[in-house]
Subunit: 130 residues, 2 copies
DNA sequence: GTTATTGTCTTAAGCAATTAATACAATAAC
DNA sequence: GTTATTGTATTAATTGCTTAAGACAATAAC
């Protein structure tokens, strides 16, 4: 997994985001065991507590669960994962449209801008950079 | 102007964002005089230094300029404003698409989701809430 | 020319959140 | 039963943001 952080948001919340994306995108399949908090922390280059904090919140959401000393696992509930994916998408869509409206764009302008961009972006569909 | 802040980002950077949107959306027309730093700060409910910090950065970008004691003004350079608007839009578009691709959506799925959403959102075009 | 307004700068203090260090608890593995 | 691994909890240090108070400089307004 490729970890990268900006300094615009707390690291722990960026961890939450990235792990969540990993789950809903299928990079971490349902039921799969995650590396230990310590290993993940080392891999991501953060303090174990920071990773732990992210995990705690993901657990609250139900996307992962921990088994005392056996480790931590992705939920097997595929519906929940689908819902999480849908919610994330909805959030992005809504925020995006709101931002564009605030800038003064109309619906049709947004659509045409998007079409241009998707065409350019089209070839590198898999690795979207960012 | 309606000021509102989340606790996800520093207030000063939210100020920058909101003022910038005010300029590129035409709420603050080119050449218009802005209220004084002290007044804006009072209006937004922040410390004058925080508002000053935002203004300093906006000035670096060139969107506003200050005239010693006469006050601070929106740039008259309409091209610059247009460019800023285009850049903001590009940024939102790129970030949005990248996020959706990361979630595992394909181009056509994104398009159809967006169309659904714009139809729902359509009626309240002006005040996009958020 | 005096005054009030405005932008600017400096210093410091307070506060909240994040990160770090370390210790503890439970249990799987052997 | 011992050990190593894991999740968890506690406490402390650090960091950055915000606010505060105040002074200075320039000039528009009168």
């Amino acid at each position: 997994m490729r970890w990268q952080f900006s300094n615009e948001l707390p690291i722990y919340s960026q961890l939450i985001e990235q792990i969540k994306v990993g789950v809903v995108s299928g990079m971490f399949p349902p039921g799969e065991r995650l590396p230990s908090v310590r290993d993940l922390a080392t891999e991501a280059g953060v303090n174990p507590n920071t990773m732990q904090r992210a995990m705690t919140e993901l657990e609250r959401d139900g996307l992962v669960y921990s088994q005392r000393t056996a480790g931590r696992f992705v939920t097997e509930d595929k519906v929940m994962i689908e819902n999480a994916k849908r919610d994330l998408a909805q959030h992005h869509i809504h925020a995006f449209l709101a931002a564009m409206f605030r800038l003064g764009f109309q619906r049709d302008e947004i659509a045409s801008l998007l079409q241009q961009q998707t065409q350019e972006e089209g070839l590198s569909n898999v690795d979207s950079g960012m």
